[in-house]
């Protein structure tokens, strides 16, 4: 009888472990209660993962504009970065975007819509398969995910859909771009999900792929990104291509400014 109880206890403990606990249990420096859940569901319950101060997440302490919260993630202290996943702990749609830097530095500026005060995480995977996680906290009045896009206030938004504004700074190794798109989350009444899903950057002369982005609903309306390359690590012309979930294509070439 004692043995049976012991076996049952062991059995249930195993079950509880399998259901709730990630393979690698981390001590979340922010202790939000949500990290393990995202570790399993967004990162796929990886075998190797750690919180790592070399992944720097910079953002304002408080979100002034819930629709446009700027974040800069810098993982250049890590070698051989393959992909970077950005997410929030609290929000109806936690995953913001995934970045494959390819020829770019593992560093990205972006903006997103915040729904409430939350930590923002950057999970960065290196070539050895290990994930390195950095965090910061942003306070917010909230509501950014469940309001209609501002674009609909303008009659001509459709004419500008998918337009790309931007510039290349080859000597500084920098590309900045803004893509016109409502980025509807599907959470505003009567407005289905309408988002850019993919963006790729390629050298316009050689066709070499430079970087790739996979966007999710929380990315801001008219997504704005800065990509970083080493000094002279990017040519004078960069082609941006992409597509939204309705099949609209994005295709534009950004150029270096004429020397002034």
């Amino acid at each position: 009888m004692r043995i049976t109880t012991g076996l049952l206890t062991a059995f249930f403990a195993t079950q509880a472990y399998a259901l709730d606990a990630p393979k690698v249990e981390l001590t979340d420096p922010l202790d939000t209660g949500m990290w393990s859940y995202h570790q399993i569901n967004i990162l796929g319950n990886p075998d190797k993962i750690r919180f790592d101060e070399r992944v720097v997440v910079k953002a304002p302490v408080a979100a002034e504009d819930s629709f446009n919260v700027p974040v800069l993630v810098d993982a250049t202290a890590l070698e051989d970065v393959k992909q970077m996943v950005f997410l929030v702990d609290y929000g109806p749609i936690p995953k913001i975007l995934t970045y494959w830097p390819q020829k770019a530095e593992p560093k990205l500026s972006f903006r997103f819509k915040i729904d409430q005060a939350t930590p923002v995480r950057a999970a960065v995977q290196t070539g050895d398969g290990e994930w390195h996680v950095g965090s910061t906290v942003i306070d917010a009045a909230g509501g950014g995910c469940s309001a209609p896009a501002v674009a609909y206030a303008a009659d001509d938004w459709e004419e500008h859909l998918g337009e790309v504004r931007g510039r290349v700074w080859p000597e500084k190794g920098r590309v900045r771009m803004i893509v016109d798109h409502p980025m509807d989350t599907g959470l505003a009444d009567g407005i289905p999900v309408f988002i850019i899903e993919q963006l790729q950057l390629a050298d316009n002369l050689s066709g070499e792929s430079l970087a790739r982005l996979e966007l999710h609903e929380p990315v801001n309306e008219d997504p704005a990104f800065t990509l970083y390359f080493g000094s002279n690590g990017v040519g004078n012309e960069v082609q941006v291509t992409g597509r939204d979930n309705n099949g609209n294509e994005i295709d534009a070439v950004l150029s270096a400014a004429a020397v002034q």
Partner: protein, 318 residues
């Protein structure tokens, strides 16, 4: 123990238990605004706000209000961030003039300037028509955020939009005349008020002094044009919306200097391809770094202004 009866003993134990069971807030110091009127001209007093951002410590008392004596009673200019603040203003007004408050003028629709209106809802509350419309459309949203930032200071506060449109260039109340200057730029409608008796200009938030200007609804070219108008008035003194009384015109010059620097800095940042977080890292010039609410207001202004400035600056891809 001999002198203590059983009833007294139980009573003492009982009251200890009651004290322990009461919520802690009963014993915390009650929240109250300590408003000290300072005379700045003949028959005009100011309540000087702290040059900070809203916090649960300052209760939102970060704004300047004016109390102006007339034969009909006190005319208030701006009513502060909460109902409780409005009540404190009413006490100050009654202390200055036995007739109490005769009327109110509101400079613009930001919550720190009109959320005390409830207390004066039976009086004429003058404002530009556009200010009234903006207070009606944005007041509830402001209230959500003010409750979040200020907590219990906001108890019982509901936004009460102005009830009387300013439609003439002069308003007379109780024998005192005020020139009304219908401007904009800090918001969609900014009322500046020139007291004709003393030449004192109440500039609202078109002028800040030693406190960083705020830009959530700003249009910078229009704001600069409004500063031109105010400068031409050669006022005897200027009561800025935030910061100390200005007797030299410094508030207008400083506000213009800051707006010029802010716009130039953001335009250059767009040319350099910076994102907002990178701009926040840039050091402030010494002449602005010491202003109240810095660098928070600079960071807020980046969020307000940069997306459009950047959009205008970036060429369209081919």
């Amino acid at each position: 123990m001999t002198d203590l009866t059983k009833r007294q003993f139980l009573g003492a134990v009982g009251s200890t238990a009651v004290i322990a069971a009461l919520p802690k807030s009963v014993f915390a110091a009650p929240l109250s605004y300590d408003l000290a009127p300072v005379q700045v001209a003949d028959g005009i007093w100011m309540i000087e706000g702290r040059t900070e951002y809203f916090s649960a410590e300052n209760g939102g008392a970060i704004v300047n209000c004016a109390l102006i004596e007339t034969e009909a009673g006190i005319v208030l200019v701006d009513t502060g961030p909460s109902r409780k603040y409005g009540e404190a203003l009413l006490d100050v007004a009654r202390g200055l003039n036995g007739r109490g408050v005769a009327g109110v003028m509101i400079t613009h629709h930001h919550p720190d300037h009109f959320f005390g209106n409830q207390v004066f809802s039976d009086k004429p509350i003058h404002a530009l028509p556009e200010t009234r419309a903006l207070a009606e459309s944005q007041g509830d949203g402001f209230a959500d955020n003010m409750y979040r930032l200020l907590g219990d200071w906001m108890r019982g506060t509901e936004p009460a939009p102005p009830n009387t449109d300013v439609s003439s260039s002069v308003i007379s109340i109780g024998g005192r005349s005020f020139e009304t200057l219908p401007l904009s730029g800090h918001t969609g409608a900014d009322l500046a008020i020139l007291d004709q008796k003393t030449g004192l200009l109440i500039a609202g938030d078109l002028a800040f002094l030693n406190r960083a200007p705020t830009t959530p609804h700003a249009d910078l070219p229009t704001w600069r044009a409004a500063l031109d108008v105010l400068t031409e008035k050669n006022a005897s003194a200027i009561l800025p919306g935030h910061g100390p009384l200005d007797t030299s015109g410094a508030s207008l010059a400083q506000t213009r200097d800051y707006l010029d620097w802010l716009e130039a800095t953001l335009k250059q940042a767009a040319l350099d391809g910076l994102d907002m977080v990178e701009i926040m890292d840039e050091p402030l010039p010494d002449r602005f770094a010491g202003m109240g609410a810095m660098p928070q207001e600079f960071h807020r202004s980046i969020a307000h202004l940069y997306p459009q400035i950047e959009r205008d600056s970036m060429p369209l891809g081919q």
